[in-house]
Amino acid sequence: MNFRVLRRQTWLYLGASLAAFWVLVPIVFTALAAFTPKQDFYLWPKPVVPRRFSLDTMRFFLNTHGVLNSLLNSVWVALMTLGLTLGVGAPAGYAMARFLFRGREAFRLGILVTRMFPTALLAIPITVNFIRWGLYDTLLGVALIHTAMALPFAVIITTGIFLGVSKELEEAAMTLGCSRLGAFARVALPLALPGLAAAAMFTFVISWNEVFAATILTVQNRTLPAQVLTMLRVSPLYFRFAGGFFMIMPALLFMFFIRRYLFHMWGGATAER
């Protein structure tokens, strides 16, 4: 009797599986290649289950000069970007959602306009200025550029998030003894957390994946993508897989930990809105 529901479910799961497959296959192959001993790497046809497991390639990659350092750099830059972007973007989004101020529409448009100019175009002036300001080849410099890239999205996303948290909830908190700030911290912020987590994830990944600015603006203090990019061009194939796997991993881990906030919506906070 529930044939239609069943059929719809089947299609849904089929579609989801296909999408998951599409995303996962390259990751799996990358991972397999990264943990296959050098000698087995060129075997064909590839065994479905790897016959031997080896950390050699990974160890070699990690021990290569500059990799570990650039990994730490990447984490630092991404975290700085995250802090700066949400630190500036979330309050801006909150203001956009709550207050009617003169020039709000212009502001909204202005935010997007900053993304109009390709980074390549800005590379030279930015580099020149960064050298002048002593920001060239520093992690902070890279983080600032990444912040500039992520901020427009962060503002737009957080505006949407705070629009979703009813103003009356904050007002209720205020009538119950909270200050304006207290009401924000105790009510709006916890309710916005899942959305903010998504914004954070997005920001982190933007910074983590960004190559161009990071390559141009640094010499010694490379981030991982910049380091890997320059290094892998001259490396053997299995070594590239190890690098690729290493690039994917932190982003996956980050998503894994933040996922909880995305799904954990207090059994339907969205319905309340």
Partner: protein, 363 residues
């Protein structure tokens, strides 16, 4: 516990819109005052001005004799129930109710005790561990009320708390709110645009229109002696009927002429209608104060039935008298057909007279 609220020439503008127009109002300590009026007349804004959620443009707000005009909501000694309930979705019912007490750094044991107490009062004690998403609308509404009264506020503000409930539940909660007020005795300002709610709950009703209070009286007074045509036409189901009438001086008293029909006014009106005894007035009378006769006849106001609606306990007739349309309540067994000519007699004591220009009630 209960405090007096005083609004002095309070004015609130939103750009060009004047939401509250120089409002003067005193809510007595312990009173249940209802703000009643059509949509957009400024009820919510008035309430929010008392709560401190809206900064007034002019005027002052006093609570318990204290000028609170510049104070934030947290320091006014008020609690509020919102139309949307505004129950915090990320907290359990217990946490929701305890929220305000926690903000005031009340000792833990006392919080637990008072939350339990108020939860029992509102019959939600078994829901304390649930999240709002797991509650029905009516239960959520109770949580919102519990969260407000657990604070033992000097003033309780409610903005259409029943409007999101279905009809049956609304009836039940209405009685419950009345009981609650009797038990806790807090000064309450209650906003609604439902006049039945207003009549049943209010010690007094403030009828608002376009940012002003047009009448502030007890429910019976507002119902029986509306101060203006607006109040008369807004309150009651159906609202008061209006007839164009000609005032006439006669020997031994005053009379009214409605078309060809003439009517003697009770002697009480003597001397209350001013010098000009030859002018046009608006006669107001409620549906239940008109007696219907199946036949026109001597001393009866002739009318023609337009629609007859049986409503169970009564029958509601829509009738035409001259150019005026009236609603008349009658016995459900009275046999009338659309188009039938009937006779009406008006209960003279229940007649209200209005000046058609100022729209104000006379006497």
């Amino acid at each position: 516990m209960a405090a007096e609220i005083k609004l002095q020439k309070v004015r609130k503008e939103f750009g060009k819109v004047v939401a509250v127009r120089d409002l003067d109002l005193v809510v007595r300590a312990g009173e249940f005052l209802v703000l009643l009026g059509p949509s957009g007349c400024g009820k919510t804004t008035t309430l929010r001005c008392i709560a401190g959620l809206e900064r007034v443009n002019r005027g002052r707000v006093f609570i318990a004799g204290r000028d609170v005009t510049e104070l934030p909501p947290a320091r006014r000694g008020i609690a509020m129930v919102f139309q949307s309930y505004a129950v915090f979705p990320h907290m359990t019912v217990a946490k929701n109710i305890a929220f305000g007490l926690k903000m005031k750094h009340t000792p833990k044991e006392e919080i637990t005790r008072r939350v339990q107490e108020v939860a029992e009062l509102l019959q939600i004690a078994e829901l304390l561990d649930r999240y709002p998403a797991q509650l029905s609308g009516g239960q959520r509404q109770r949580v919102a009320v519990a969260r407000a009264i657990v604070m033992r506020p000097e003033v309780l503000l409610m903005d259409e708390p029943l409007s999101n409930l279905d009809a049956l539940l609304r009836l039940q909660m209405r009685a419950e709110l009345k009981r609650l007020h009797r038990e806790i005795g807090t000064t309450t300002v209650y906003v609604t645009h439902d006049q039945v709610e207003a009549l049943s709950l209010g010690d007094r009703i403030a009828v608002m229109r376009a940012g002003e209070i047009v009448q502030l009286d007890s429910p019976t007074q507002v119902y029986d002696q509306p101060a203006t045509l607006f109040v008369a036409g807004f309150i009651g189901t159906p609202p008061m009927n209006f007839l164009t009438a000609q005032l006439q001086a006669r020997e031994g008293g005053l009379g009214l002429k409605i078309g060809e029909f003439s009517l003697e006014l009770p002697p009480a009106w003597q001397g209350k209608l001013g010098e000009d005894t030859e002018r046009t007035l608006v006669l107001g009378i409620r549906a239940e104060n008109i007696e219907v006769h199946a036949q026109p006849g001597e001393g009866r106001l002739p009318a023609e039935v337009v629609v007859a609606e049986p409503l169970g306990a009564t029958q509601l007739l829509t009738v035409r008298v001259g150019d005026d349309i009236l609603k008349v309540a009658t016995d459900p067994d009275l046999p009338v057909q659309p188009g039938q000519r009937i006779g009406l007699s008006l209960v003279p004591e229940k007649i209200r007279l209005f000046d058609p220009d100022s729209e104000k009630a006379l006497a």
